[in-house]
Amino acid sequence: MPTNTLNDRTFQVNDEGFFTDRDEWSEELATDLAQLIGIEMDEEHWAPIRFMREDSAKNGPTPTLRRMQTVGGFDIKELYRLYPGKPAKKMAWIAGLPKPVGCV
């Protein structure tokens, strides 16, 4: 497993750069990660990230966009505005969670 270092903090990641240990995550680290992909974290950006972490801590898998909508009450179009292009993947990456996946 590769180790990543960002602003003097190290953490384990998989081949695609996603955290492999959710406990190595912190909000400070997330803020720095977000900057790397051009996202300035504010309250609007934090809300879905916090939901993702709470939901996956309870249920296991990283929630899909639809689950973000039905359980978290987020508007999917709004998530696309906050995290353009690939919101599910970008949010999972910033939240220190596995990429939302199928089985293969």
Binding site: N14, D15, E16, N59, G60, P61, T64, L65, R66, R67, T70, V71, I76, K77, Y80, P84, G85, K86, A88, K89, K99, P100, V101, G102, C103, V104
Partner: protein
């Protein structure tokens, strides 16, 4: 008399009824409930559109596979009242239980996407193949299709048999090649995930398959609705995909009674401990097969391995002993790749599909993550194994827990 109630007589429910009737003493009653007497071999749905299987071959009476000494009640389920240990049925009866095993699976829900089941193109130009009716109607539509834009599109996870959409797109490519009109059909695979194959090793090994066969891929496409007038898919971020024929895999949920009973999560899947499959809310309820929320494939192979893990646990539990087994999420599946070949995948909760041989290290005879004729024949042979060996609950010569023997771990 102790009362065991099994909801659902599909893959998991039928296996449970057969094995537990043999294992439990005669003073246990076993009752199985299902809404109809049609047991479908669901992997067969994949072949009906191409005319290589038929509805008659895929469906057999459920009662044919249930053992003597088990009561079969044919009616729908209205509600589980878990606090009272009772289940209300649609025919007005109420069945009490001491232990409840839920195996009622997952259902495709085309009604949950605007413009899908309620659109004028449904079963005219928009089809699913996850139901008998859908796959049968799709067969007719493919036969008359002379060319144009064909989309194979996945709405969201989880779905039953997550590899089936990929198998379908590879088989449909082969189908048009055989009909000699492949050059007139523009095939695109549309997925909300970021690739056709999502785990890195499978993706690397298999990713070239779609490209080699000139199948386009559109990724990160989260479907909002189908515009029937303009014949386009519309995503939440406003992208559009036009089609002449759409093969969609609708959202899946658990059964309606699960929602009505307050047993499920937002998608109607029942939360369980993923190692014991015991309901997190009620100690005398276990969930086998696709109806639970365990993070692995909703597929018959998983149901099979889960049942084999569960039975010794259950026997120990009713005997007052600790449960000996822990389910690892083991799944293995043949993936049809067209050209008379298939791949074999073997994986679990913690380990992604790897390359190597199966079930014997270095010997096989099956090759993992590689295409072969033998794998394809294995997939075809499995239909008979399913009816004759798996459903009656006989032991198959494959390990229940995933083994790393013969697998190539990455550096």
């Amino acid at each position: 008399m102790r009362r065991l109630l099994i909801l659902g007589a599909g893959t998991a429910g039928t296996m449970l009824a057969n094995i537990l009737r043999r294992e439990l003493p005669d003073d246990w009653s076993i009752t199985v409930v299902d809404k109809d007497n049609d047991h479908p071999y669901q992997p067969g749905y994949l072949f009906i559109p191409f005319g290589t299987s038929t509805p008659e071959r895929v469906v057999k009476p459920r009662t044919q596979f249930l053992p003597k000494g088990v009561d079969f009640v044919q009616t729908g389920i209205r509600k589980v009242r878990a606090a009272d240990n009772e289940v209300d049925l649609e025919d007005g009866r109420t069945l009490p239980y001491d232990w409840l095993l839920i195996a009622t699976g997952a259902v495709p829900r085309p009604d949950l996407t605007p413009g899908m089941a309620d659109g004028k193109l449904w079963y005219k130009k928009v089809f699913d193949f996850y139901t008998l009716e859908g796959s049968t109607r799709l067969h007719d539509a493919l036969e008359t299709f002379q060319g144009g834009k064909l989309l194979v599109q996945l709405t969201d996870m989880p779905i039953k048999c997550p590899v089936a959409p990929l198998e379908f797109v590879l088989l449909v490519e082969d189908y048009f090649r055989t009909r000699r009109i492949r050059h007139k059909v523009d095939i695109t695979y549309v997925t909300p995930l970021d690739g056709a194959f999502t785990k890195p090793i499978a993706s690397r090994e298999l990713g070239h398959l779609l490209t080699d066969r000139s199948i386009r891929q559109v990724t990160d496409f989260a479907l909002e609705r189908i515009d029937n007038d303009r014949q386009v898919l519309v995503s939440y971020d406003g992208r559009e995909q036009p089609f002449d024929l759409l093969v969609t895999i609708p959202l899946h949920t658990g059964q309606q009674y699960v929602f009505d009973s307050g047993l499920g999560d937002d998608a109607g899947f029942i939360p369980v401990d993923k190692k014991t499959l015991r309901s997190t809310a009620y100690d005398n309820i276990f969930v086998l097969g696709d109806a639970s929320n365990i993070p692995t494939s909703k597929a018959g192979a998983v149901a099979h391995f889960a049942v084999e893990t569960f039975v010794p646990n259950f026997l120990a539990l009713i005997d007052g002993r600790p449960m000996p087994n822990s389910f690892d999420g083991h799944a293995n599946c043949f993936v049809e790749s067209g050209r008379g070949q298939a791949l074999l995948l073997d994986f679990n909760y913690d380990t992604q599909p790897l390359t190597g041989t199966f079930p014997l290290a270095g010997v096989g005879p099956m090759k993992l993550l590689g295409r072969s004729r033998l794998n394809h024949l294995g997939k075809l042979a499995f239909e008979q194994i399913y009816w004759k060996v798996l459903l009656p609950g006989h032991k198959l010569p494959v390990p229940t827990l995933m083994s790393m023997a013969g697998k190539h771990e990455e550096d």
